[in-house]
Subunit: 354 residues, 4 copies
């Protein structure tokens, strides 16, 4: 194996941090050489500090790594994956970018910042141009790239494909979100057994805004938000992984089910992001059974990176109804950030950073 | 206790049939004197033939009742509650109506018939006028009255209140439906553990049509379907009882949250249906917590007859977003039919029938 | 209604505290006049401080009660129900007993104290004699009475009935315990969905010891621990309420299933505890179906106070196998403490205290 | 790849049949060339006839295979894997053995037959000697080999290791079994949500007997049942895959936890079964965390073939307490039969058959 790029995982003991560690096991391009954690964990080895909650075993190489603080001084790498809580990310990620480090972040802290991309390489790889804007504006030699909220991910991929082909006017979406989206310990078992919780704090606002940025156009100056209407209801259900969304979509003109099916099935990622190690294969899988996708059966499609669409059918009010499933901790979190980092390497941002 | 009206439960061994038996225990007006079942059960006593699945105990009076076939000859009553499967109901309910019996049915067989009301006494008690049309058209001395599909119930109550006050244009709805809605054994446990099933056969079509009939106007000739658009997605989730629906509503003109809240809270059933024994008290309960209603906590509101609304807030595309919860086997099935029967008694249809 | 005895609930905002408040609604003998909570809650009214998690509504009388600290000075009552965490109970309950207050406690802090009874009025009402020992030893005018760990409750009732009739030698027990036994938020949903946790901290030790005390003999000096062997495995399962235990029992001599069934069915509580308001009716319900008891169907038997036994059959190694179900937050917690208080009133301890 | 041995899966559309098809995808020694099903499926292709319920996709090679009846005439193979229902297996498996075919069966039909081994290659590979007895007794040129009931599997592996080292006297076991053990559709969702079912028809009898046969000695004449006492309680819980068992074990003499841990950890399968393609690696994994194994986290250990033991600790009545987890549809069903077939090939039974 050629030399891999040394990288760190920030906030490595939490649920998303664990997913980063698991997915980066044997990654062909990146090698995890550092793990950071809160004051409570610093100095302990990862195997001891981390209450591992994934069915996949903790990789052996991770166990002895000693946890360090989330500061530039403690990290001798040019690339970090951030699973920090938003409140911590706010300062730490800027410090790191300032210090010349590329931050691929799953935190929400900077998703709304004008010059920070919310990146989905299979649909908007040119948004990384914002890194140039960041560097000019703040004098950074590194930079910050985020992936979307886990609920926005599958929806944005689907909508972008439709937008490209037909233009997009209005979207109704209702999510049924997995427990792992709330972190660990997250949702109390007594709150969700035999139950649905029709509320996730701040989620609807995030989702209604993010999709318009992700589907927006990079102009060199910044992102022009995509101009479509969107209404979201978000719910928590008793599912471990995999966010489902019911979607009703109004396009620029009436589009039939077959035409839309063709477009979704044929969609290929732009060439620069198509064959990256973590790229979804395929980007979208359209299922034709009447009762799919389902989280338990379909969330691991394409190693958890594929957006699975099903039940494509006419909508009595708008044009199309469908169901979208995306793995919230893989495509919608750690896997997404890793894919982002691969794109940055491919585009040459990393050598520029180091 | 004054003499109660003798009644029968049709299809008494199934899950809805059991709910009828349980809810009619100690009913002030009705006394169950006969239970019907399929050939397999006929001749056995109920306690032996019925695999009881409710947490409430089987009433002692029901155990020794010998199950009879679902035919006019076997039933010496003027009122029956039908929990028959649609395929059986199609013939049996007509035979009974012909024989002078009033059929309060939970079956879907005749919901779409022009002269059969889909009755929700708290919002459309005048639809019973269709009984007159039935009698004229078919020469029946009895008649058939249905209650809606369990998913339409809470939604229709809510929409009717809004329609009355503001006029109704368009509705998006996404349901998260309980397992008991599929009967027993119904959904396989392996299909729903850690899962959502985004499909319920024929449910979306039913729901999109029924609401327009329920909210329609009785003209003496028949029902003028209400003129509004509706798009429904229906899903099955791991909840025992209680159907949740996310609703986005467009009214005739913009309406604020406070105004709508006032109207929902103040709604009272028409006088004739307001104080019936099974009437919901209140018709609508509007909850103000950000995360309610929830099935486990709120389904038994008003003994399972109240429609619980929550999360009333502005909708970015239409006017209002909200969540509606209704107990699917009580308000949405057996309890609804019993309430219908009480209205028929109050309106004098029963003496006319007997 | 005659004047009711004023009482306080200690630790009223937690999950067991809420159950006390709910069960004491309309209690014929006791009236809740004070609620205590942690520093964070003190001064707030209960309706605001408490995140209510029960399906039954919070009683209206409780909402405006202002939460006070758990100290004798803040409480003008002669009787308190304690839902305190063990660490807090350790000091607070002694202070209250010292101050002349009778403490009916669900906390584990003093269950192992030599002069504190673990009381189950239907089987060991004479253990309250230890209150005399407490008063002598510590100079208290009040006293402390505990109920058992929720897992010990149903098992102890069952074993005591068998011990009385046949003598008891050895017991194997394996529990499958409900989530509410861990309090709120308690078990994380990600830990229990599609899972079993074969471990509950310190539970096996507690259960193996407590049963011997509960079934022991009060000698005037103290309790002679019952002399039988016991081995316990404890597990957490995805059930909201209701602890199930598989039990294999060796008696002093071989006993047949019918004989044991007769004894369990015929058992009546001692006269002084038999007709108290919260007494289980019956003490033991023996079910004969092959697949009962089940938590969802049977936990509310006798308003959640009855011990439900089923699957009584021969054991290939010992004498009898059976399954025992008991509602862990009613019979096994709040309901148990209330029943204890009723016994203390009946036995005259309260007037002596006040 | 060298030529693989052609094989058929009997009863391929059911839940265990599907697991066979999935596990035999890319098997190094066996190639599935035929699939059988009931009359309803015969003539259809597998992709159409089978309602696939596994998260892993149906292998592409399986889709076009046309389903044939379960008769010797329809099958041109020397090896079959049977996922037949016991009632069908009773005739079909004998017909096939008669016709010279080796039947590796997951069915219970012949587990109790004197000359049919219940085979676990890692602990009793010499039991295949019974094939000789079968051939002599019935004049077969093929033969029948079964794997145990899914609940017996992990328990028998564990007990055999302890028996070898210390001798075995008595065993108490209580199972918490997964839903997939009941097949599909199997357990109704309404029966298991928020519930435990303390009963599985005939399971306790099977388990109490089978373990004694599996741990018995092959004498040339037959199997001498192992001489130890066993008492089993079996329960169904809301887990998809993975049977958990709480075990209390009495050995020939007192054995400490460390000594037993050493023996379990060091156990290696006999040489002939150690490095077969499907052999568990390791045979037993002993976990030292206080709260493991757990079904969701540990069932896939060793690709679902390893027996996971945890919570090894002293037992107050017997000598040792522990928890055992085994994947019921892999080690306990399809994977077990495949491992059996590999042993038969290694031992040379197959060429003798063909």
């Amino acid at each position: 194996m050629p030399t891999r790029i040394p990288a760190a995982v920030l906030g490595a003991t939490g649920s998303v941090g664990q997913r980063f560690v698991q997915l980066l096991d044997d990654h062909p391009w990146f090698e995890v050489v550092a793990l950071t954690g809160s004051d409570r964990s610093v100095g302990k080895c990862y195997g001891e500090a981390c209450h591992w909650i994934l069915p996949e075993s903790m990789p052996d190489w991770a166990r002895p790594i000693q946890i360090v603080p989330t500061t530039p001084a403690a990290l001798d790498v040019a690339l970090v994956f951030s699973a920090l809580p938003a409140s911590v990310a706010r300062k730490a990620e800027v410090d790191l970018a300032q210090a010349g480090i590329l931050v691929c972040s799953n935190a929400s802290a900077y998703r709304q910042a004008e010059d920070v991309p919310i990146l989905l390489p299979e649909i908007n790889p040119d948004h990384t141009g914002l890194l140039e804007n960041q560097r000019k504006a703040h004098g950074w030699s590194g930079g910050i790239v985020t992936n979307p909220n886990c609920t926005s991910t599958g929806v944005s991929v689907t909508l972008k494909v439709l937008q490209n082909a037909f233009g997009l006017r209005r979207v109704f979406m209702v999510s049924m979100q997995a427990l792992s989206g709330a972190g660990y310990p997250g949702v109390a078992s007594l709150d969700i057994l035999d139950n649905v919780i029709p509320y996730i704090a701040n989620e609807e606002e995030k989702v209604e805004w993010e999709a318009r940025k992700i589907l927006g156009a990079y102009t060199g100056e910044g992102i022009d938000l995509a101009d479509f209407g969107i209404s979201a209801h978000t719910n928590r259900v008793a599912v471990s992984d995999g966010h489902m969304v019911c979607l009703s979509v109004e396009l620029e003109q009436p589009v039939g089910v077959e035409e839309a099916a063709h477009v979704l099935t044929e969609y290929a990622a732009p060439e620069e992001s198509r064959d990256l190690p973590t790229a979804p294969r395929p980007v979208v899988l359209l299922r034709s059974e009447p009762d799919r996708p389902q989280p338990r059966l379909d969330r691991m499609t394409g190693n958890g990176m594929t957006t699975v669409v099903g039940r494509l059918r006419p909508d009595p009010l708008f044009h199309l109804k469908m169901v979208v499933l995306s793995h919230n901790t893989i495509r919608g979190a750690a896997g997404g950030s890793i894919y982002n980092a691969e794109l940055l390497v491919r585009q040459g941002w990393l050598s520029a950073a180091a």
